[in-house]
């Protein structure tokens, strides 16, 4: 894992702030988030609903609807350009070409009234300005790449005729058609059944190697992250609370939230009679508590946590934590 660090990061996100001005007041959906993505790596972002993981990945290609959203600050350096500053025209050259997306709901992510082939060809014709025939041939090749049986027929099918798993493969084919450098997958398998999910995850791993792309994998499911990610970033209430490689996160988590999250998730190996529980509710971003947002639910919270919040500190090599008492070490506990 460590030799990755020397290589130049593919994507650098520095102090990204994306806020929402909704009727209920200011919502700091993504509040000062920084992380890097290295070539060939799969970075997993995990967190519960409303923690800002989706907004973070959407901000990468400025896909957040503004208004009500607004990019308050920070930089997103990709391929030498700051994605927040470049013009719409340049941005469009990157979307679907260098950075592409696959989304959660396969049922509604494809345009219901266009044929599958047409939707894939569209990407190729825009970014590779291929002719109609070339694009059609390439689309069939892309479908074959994602192991869809008899692609010649599927190309002329409409989305409603395919199952959820098949549609997600079409999304992947569309996203990888131009061999992007970064594939952003926002909860790609959440809506799929277990056996189909296994197929899609397996497919994504194979394609990652074949097309040498790096993946930003967003999900709320810890076990999927354990399977897929090389490094894991845990987010809570719009902030990154822990970042480390996958084995460290699961074997030696330091942030109380990560610890609670892993222990409260039932797994094949759990045998206890009651699950460990993180008390309280998922935070409401429009009225967050002062200091560390997790303090009302944190067993180790002290007055210090209630006033301020620590920076993301590299407690061990490549293991960052945003907590005054990482690992819940003993303290005067007032």
């Amino acid at each position: 894992m460590s030799e990755m660090m020397e290589k130049k990061p593919l994507l650098e996100v520095k102090n990204l702030k994306t806020y929402f001005h909704s009727a209920g007041g200011l919502v700091k959906a993504v509040d000062d988030v920084s992380f890097d993505v290295y070539e060939g790596e799969t970075l997993g972002i995990v967190g519960e609903s409303g923690c800002g993981k989706s907004i973070t990945c959407m901000s990468l290609a400025r896909l957040v609807e503004c208004p009500p959203g607004k990019y308050e600050g920070g930089e997103i350096l990709f391929d030498g350009q700051d994605m927040l500053k470049i013009s719409d025209a340049e941005l469009r050259k990157i979307r679907g070409n260098k950075i592409s997306y696959i989304f959660q709901e396969p049922m509604t992510s494809l345009n219901p009234v266009f044929k599958i082939g047409k939707q894939i060809e569209e990407v190729l014709r825009v970014h590779r300005n291929m002719s109609k025939e070339e694009a059609k041939k390439e689309a069939i090749h892309a479908l074959d790449l994602v192991r869809i049986p008899n692609p010649e027929r599927i190309v002329n099918e409409y989305p409603f005729a395919l199952s959820g798993g098949m549609r997600q493969r079409v999304m992947i084919a569309m996203a990888l058609a131009c061999s992007p450098k970064l594939l952003v997958a926002d909860e790609p398998t959440t809506a799929l059944d277990v056996t189909i999910q296994a197929q899609v995850l397996d497919l994504m791993n194979d394609l990652k190697k074949e097309i040498d792309t790096s993946i930003l994998f967003i999900t709320h499911d810890l076990s999927v992250i354990a399977e897929m990610a090389d490094r894991v970033m845990v987010m809570y209430a719009g902030k990154v609370v822990e970042l480390a490689d996958v084995n460290t996160i699961f074997e030696k988590p330091l942030h109380p939230y990560t610890i609670g999250l892993i222990s409260s998730r039932p797994d094949m190996s759990t045998t206890s009679d009651r699950l460990n529980v993180i008390p309280g509710n998922v935070p409401d971003l429009s009225d967050l508590p002062t200091g560390c947002a997790f303090n009302p639910r944190c067993p180790y919270a002290s007055d210090k946590c209630r006033e301020g919040i620590s920076e993301l500190v590299e407690v061990e090599p490549n293991h960052f934590v945003r907590c005054y008492y990482p690992g819940g070490e003993k303290h005067d506990g007032n």
Binding site: A61, T108, N111
Partner: protein, 321 residues
């Protein structure tokens, strides 16, 4: 799809006969008769009664219904006493103008209404959106005859930009086809604007609400993520889906193409089916009335069927079921 059409056709027949049957019942109850209008002092009551018996024999309404039906099957829709011509010809004279007028109005309404709907949907709650919404509501709020008379007064009478009345200028009755067509079109400009203006409002608001729904869907986000330009995302991806309910709206407007607009036709002295049906009612010209209503009822029933077929044609999900 074929089964669906057959089933709908089979459904239309009973409804159509039901409506006509009730119509005969109502006509039977209606006061006044075809001869009540005659005010000629020399027409003696006996003569009037004889004429009445000749034209509209006093049989029970269901007998009249079956007679009319059997005749209609053979294509004979009765004779219009007032116009001294068969009902079919009388309707034929007026349907051309009504169809042209309504079609032009529909096209105007669509050409202006739909784009405005899209613009106000994409810029929701902006000044443009509010402005267009109020403008469209103004269209709905003006009574047709009031708006028509004002337009006629200003543009035709005062500024003499448009003809004041009629469908054609009799002077070039013998001119060649194209000048005649041009002249008729010139006469239809004002009425079409009047008729189209209210339609613009409904098309605009319909488009706006269906666009708003589509714009928030996932595949629009996917389209943007594919790097397509905003124009393509809105006009190709979004509108193609938003078009589906609009197409059904057109289907429901079809009967309007031949039912005519009484007020516009009266103000602009156009030979339309609308005015013809009013005339038929006030002169109790029952054969003509039945002819018109049979046609309109069929048109309405087929209108709903066409709306469904258009819906299936535009939305692939339905075509294969």
């Amino acid at each position: 799809m074929k089964n669906y059409i057959i089933r709908r056709l089979l459904q239309i027949i009973p409804v159509f006969l039901g409506i006509l049957f009730i119509l005969f019942f109502i006509i039977d109850k209606a006061p006044g008769s075809i001869t009540s209008n005659i005010m000629d002092p020399t027409m003696t009551p006996e003569l009037k009664a004889a004429l009445q018996e000749k034209l509209d024999p006093s049989l029970p309404f269901y007998v009249k219904f079956f007679n009319w039906l059997s005749e209609a099957m053979k294509g004979n829709f009765g004779y219009s006493f007032k116009h001294y011509r068969p009902v079919i010809d009388v309707i034929g004279d007026n349907i051309g103008c009504t169809f042209a007028l309504s079609l032009v109005a529909l096209i105007i309404a669509m050409l202006i209404g739909i784009p405005c709907g899209i613009i106000s949907a994409t810029k929701q709650y902006s000044l443009v959106d509010n402005g267009l919404t109020v403008l469209s509501l103004v269209g709905l709020a003006l009574p047709t005859f009031f708006f028509g008379l004002l337009l006629l007064k200003v543009l035709a009478v005062d500024m003499k930009l448009f003809p004041i009345f009629g469908l054609m200028n009799p002077l070039n009755a013998k001119a060649d086809f194209w000048t005649k067509l041009g002249d008729q079109a010139y006469h239809l400009v004002l009425p079409a604007i009047v008729l189209g203006f209210a339609e613009i409002a409904s098309f605009m608001r319909y488009t706006r609400s269906s666009m708003l729904e589509v714009i928030r869907s996932d595949y629009i986000r996917t389209a943007r993520a594919k790097g397509l330009s905003e124009k393509i995302v809105i006009y190709r991806h979004a509108f193609r889906n938003a078009m589906i309910p609009i197409v059904t709206l057109i289907g429901f407007r079809l009967p309007g193409l031949i039912s005519g607009a009484v007020m516009t036709e009266t103000i602009f002295s156009l030979p339309g089916v609308g005015k013809l049906s009013v005339e038929a009612v006030s002169t109790r010209n029952y054969p003509l009335l039945l002819g018109i209503n049979a046609m309109l009822t069929l048109a309405t029933l087929f209108g709903t069927l066409v709306a469904d077929i258009l819906y299936a044609a535009v939305d692939p999900r339905i075509k294969y079921h």
